[in-house]
């Protein structure tokens, strides 16, 4: 029992500690591609520490929702990330929520974040919230359809069980899974406010979705919001890794060596995902806001097609 809790604790600590590193790594890759030196890898940690030490400035018109939201966003995102298998399957709390619950936890984080965007009553908070709600209205159903697809292949909505099924290689190549992979990448880009949907590096009015929503935050509140954003990026990277490259995941009740190998491969997979994201981001342009629904609509359609194929192919 103690050992089980320890393994779960390692998972929770791992996702929290690696998250800023992944963000820093993506920035570094992008800078290198642009022939810049870029900020140090550990810069996100320093940013968080510095922000925590600063005083928080809160607008006069803000209510308790504004002050509570960063902690709720962080908590919901972190709990969701802890439910995604990173280095091992079958962890002790993995049964407490499936992929639908993970999607809904991210929805809870978004609910708090968008309310906070409206709380101060500024126009930038409103514009960010408005666009975020539109994107979510398409990304969330796409995510549910992806869940259906992978769950029907694996016979379970439980992420740990899905990863274990994928690990055994009996699945083979499936058209549905390929559709789900593309859809999940699109959803991941949109949910993490990356190019081509949003640009995390600017404060330009035209690109502002996530950044506009959190514009009023400062100090420790901003630190929590930034940390939550990093954890969310890591969550989607882990999700893609455990669903489509489960290689190296330690099965339940393995030895210390398997767990060590699991952590090692996990870090390699994250680095791969981060490098691909960096390269992708600098080789593509940002979209107009009203193009994004088409982009996300593709994800929804692909998810629907993947699920439909599986519904139909059951009887063939």
């Amino acid at each position: 029992m103690i050992g089980d809790l320890l393994l779960q604790g390692v998972q929770m600590a791992l996702v929290l500690l690696l998250a800023p590193l992944l963000t820093g790594f993506v920035r570094k890759v992008k800078a290198h591609m642009l022939r810049r030196r870029g900020p140090p890898l550990l810069q996100p940690y320093r940013d968080i520490r510095r922000l925590l030490a600063k005083e928080a400035i809160v607008a006069d018109s803000a209510s308790w929702v504004f002050r509570a939201a960063p902690y709720v966003v962080f908590a919901a995102t972190w709990v969701a990330a802890a439910l995604v298998p990173s280095y091992a399957t079958g962890l002790v709390f993995s049964w407490s929520g499936d992929l639908i619950a993970i999607t809904a936890l991210l929805g809870l984080a978004r609910f708090a974040q968008t309310l906070a965007g409206l709380d101060v009553g500024t126009s930038f908070g409103g514009i960010g919230t408005s666009r975020e709600l539109l994107f979510a209205a398409l990304a969330e159903p796409a995510m549910i359809m992806i869940t259906f697809t992978v769950a029907l292949v694996a016979g379970s909505t439980q992420l740990s069980a899905i990863a274990a099924t994928m690990l055994t290689y009996t699945v083979g190549l499936r058209v549905s899974l390929a559709l789900a992979l593309i859809a999940l990448i699109i959803v991941a880009l949109a949910e993490n406010a990356r190019i081509p949907v949003d640009n995390p590096a600017t404060h330009l009015e035209l690109t502002m979705v996530h950044e506009a929503m959190v514009l009023e935050y400062s100090g420790r509140h901003l630190a929590m919001v930034d940390l939550a954003a990093s954890v969310k990026l890591l969550l989607y990277a882990s999700l893609l890794a455990c669903l489509f490259t489960p290689l190296g995941l330690a099965p339940a009740d393995s030895g210390i060596a398997a767990y060590g190998l699991g952590i090692g491969t996990y870090v390699v997979k994250l680095a791969g995902a981060g490098a691909m994201l960096g390269v992708f981001e600098i080789s593509i342009a940002k979209m107009r806001v009203f193009r994004v629904p088409n982009f996300l609509g593709i994800a929804l359609m692909l998810g629907f097609l993947g699920a439909l194929l599986l519904f139909v192919s059951r009887s063939l």
Binding site: D60, V65, S315
Partner: protein, 668 residues
């Protein structure tokens, strides 16, 4: 005394209160005693129903009503489950009304009908024959119509009442025809006789469609939903809560009683119209809610959306039952019943919150409010909680029931029919889309209403509502949390009703460790509301405490930043219309034919610029507008008969006489 006798007595007591209120109701001082008595009776009935949940069916024959027929009452697990929903909602609304009803301008138009409305809803749920069922159904419609017309001097209310009356009569007509067909085969109106005599497949199919129309129109199923967003908001807020939270559930009870119990074995295609109507209702309802600026109408549209979810789950249950998959049918039916219970809880809180806002500001238009969280701290917190619950977010109850619905869809590839294989994934997509849009809808509702800065003087001068209203809101919000953290308790409580109708049951949840819920044996997934809730709460408070302890909690208040150019005018904030503009442009442009016309005067002209938005309800455009136009045309033609000469009238009567004689002569 058995629970059924107790419920029968409480119906009698409510009728008595209604009669007393008819005598003394014009005096506002009668308000608190009337509502207090309703609260006592409903709470007692709710406890009796809870106790009756696991008990077997009980029947009772009363020599009341039509001579020789009397009244049959019946209480089984399904009735008991819906009695809990009805009486819990009624008790909460009565508690709320002790405070809220004190400001009623016309108590004589509300007090007599309120207890009668409660009595009628109780009667429908325990009716044991078609006569008493239809009697209760009509009494429920009429009492609620009277309550809708309480403030009849407002023109919109009079129109709402008229449309409601027409639609209610239409729905009852469909039910009447359905019961007529059923009784023909059974040789009686007794439910036991009807259930024992299985109708032929053809008759049963016609009855199913009639019930879908009859019960669906009362519940707000598209395309028969058009009256609901007009009528529910027109009534006083505690009655709105009852109509949305409870009366729609009585309609769902009617559908389940007939479709699952009285009709006997199901045909697989019955599930298709139910699934289609449910999925379309869910999507249409939430899109309308997202466009709405009247708070109570927004909530009414959201009711339509939830009814869609419930019917979608019921359609799945019908499909599974027809294919002899009792475990899956039990899962889908549990999802429907659980969601019906949940919707009663959170929709009541939301309407109570709307009533509190209405009482404090006199406004229902969210565009003219804002910043109320500072002036109404407790009711806003309850509204927020209910919003999170209705948006199906963990760890609250709305997520638990939607999770069950998604799990039921996840089992459905095992259905053999091709029609269902193609339909269910599409319905699932619409359900997922609706779930995401609901979250957007309630971010918009709560954000514009309670957050930001007040947009009018009325919003600035708001005050917290009275303590009875707050108590009702707090109790129901607490139940939302409890049902979210311990969904297994509710699922186990619903198990007898589910077993009665599907022959199967979900795994007993009470035995699982840590209150994890599993949808079926051979677990395909699991969810633990308690664990998720505990973790999120722990991390939220833990991280806040840790940061405050280690990094300090220095906070400075200042003007908003807003990129350096904050505009102090309250009108510079985002409005509800602008917040949902992207969604309107992407979704509603097609579904609701929403259009925006921007009128921008040329430079130099002094005319004000304006934006005109229009929205069309597809159901209204495709069905009701042509129908009313046709009725109008026919009536216009017939109008000519009023202005004939006496000779023409005599000629007409003679022609009719000849025609009738020919008919009599030709007929054998």
């Amino acid at each position: 005394m058995s629970a059924l006798v107790f419920i029968a007595w409480s119906i009698a007591a409510l009728t008595g209160i209604a009669l007393l209120a008819a005598v003394a109701g014009r005096d506002i001082r009668a308000s608190a005693p009337v509502y207090g008595a309703c609260l006592a009776v409903s709470a007692a009935a709710c406890i009796a129903a809870l106790a009756a949940l696991p008990a077997g069916p009980v029947a009772l024959h009363l020599p009341l009503g039509l001579p020789g027929i009397g009244t049959d009452l019946r209480l089984d697990a399904l009735s008991a489950a819906f009695l809990v929903i009805v009486d819990l909602g009624a008790a909460a609304a009565s508690l709320y009304a002790i405070g809220y009803g004190a400001h009623e301008p016309a108590p004589g138009r509300v007090l007599p009908f309120y207890p009668a409305f409660l009595a009628a809803m109780n009667l429908v749920v325990i009716a044991g024959d078609a006569y008493s069922f239809l009697f209760g159904w009509e009494a429920m419609s009429l009492a609620s119509w009277a309550l809708v017309m309480a403030h009849h001097r407002e023109e919109a209310n009079a129109r709402a009442g008229y449309i409601y009356l027409v639609m209610a009569s239409f729905g009852t007509l469909a039910l009447l025809l359905g019961f007529g067909l059923l009784a023909q085969g059974a040789g009686g109106f007794d439910f036991a006789a009807i259930a024992a005599a299985h109708p032929t497949a053809g008759t049963a199919s016609v009855v199913l469609l009639l019930v879908l129309i009859g019960a669906g129109s009362k519940a707000g199923l598209a395309p028969l939903h058009v009256w609901l967003p007009l009528a529910h908001p027109a009534a006083p807020s505690h009655v709105s809560a009852l109509m949305s939270g409870v009366m729609t559930k009585v309609a769902i009870y009617g559908f389940i009683r007939i479709a699952f119990d009285l009709l006997g074995p199901a045909l697989w295609w019955w599930s298709m119209p139910v699934l289609v109507a449910g999925a379309l209702t869910a999507a249409l309802g939430v899109l309308h809610a997202l466009m709405e600026r009247d708070l109570k109408r927004l909530l009414a549209y959201s009711t339509i959306e939830n009814i869609g979810i419930i019917f979608l789950a019921l359609g799945l249950a019908l499909a599974f039952r027809a294919n002899a998959m009792p475990a899956a049918a039990a899962l889908a039916l549990t999802a429907a019943l659980f969601h019906a219970f949940n919707h009663m809880l959170f929709k009541s809180v939301l309407f109570f919150g709307a009533g509190a806002v209405l009482g404090a500001t006199g406004e229902r238009d969210i565009e003219r409010l804002g910043g109320l969280i500072h002036r109404m701290p407790v009711s806003s917190a309850c509204f927020l909680l209910a919003s999170v619950a209705i948006a199906a977010l963990p760890p609250l109850n709305g997520f638990a029931s939607e999770w069950l619905a998604f799990q039921a869809i996840f089992v459905s590839p095992a259905l053999p029919q091709w029609g269902l294989k193609l339909l269910v994934p599409a319905a699932g997509t619409l359900l997922a889309l609706a779930a995401a849009l609901v979250a957007a809808c309630f971010v918009r509702a709560f954000g514009i209403l309670y957050l930001g800065r007040p947009r009018t003087a009325a919003a600035e001068g708001a005050h917290e509502t009275d303590r009875f209203s707050l108590a009702a809101m707090i109790i129901l919000s607490a139940l939302c949390v409890a049902a979210g953290l311990f969904p297994g308790v509710v699922i186990d409580a619903l198990a007898p009703a589910v077993r009665l109708l599907t022959g199967g049951a979900m795994p007993v949840q009470g035995r699982s460790a840590w209150h994890t819920i599993t949808p079926m044996a051979g677990a395909s997934g699991s969810y633990n509301g308690l664990m998720i809730g505990l973790f999120v709460a722990l991390v939220t408070f833990g991280s806040a405490a840790l940061i405050h302890a280690l990094a300090g909690r220095r906070t400075r208040r200042s003007r908003p930043w807003d990129c350096g150019y904050p505009n102090p005018a309250a009108t510079a904030q985002y409005t509800a219309a602008s917040l949902s503009q992207p969604i309107r442009r992407v979704f509603a442009a097609i579904v609701l034919r929403s259009r925006e016309v921007v009128d921008m005067p040329a430079p130099g002209t002094l005319r004000a610029a304006s934006v005109t938005k229009t929205i069309h309800d597809p159901a209204w455009d495709a069905i009701f507008a042509p129908l009313t136009a046709a009725v109008g045309r026919v009536a216009g033609r017939l109008n000519q008969f009023q202005f004939l000469t006496i000779g023409q009238y005599l000629g007409l009567i003679f022609a009719l006489l000849v025609l009738l004689l020919i008919v009599v002569g030709v007929m054998p």
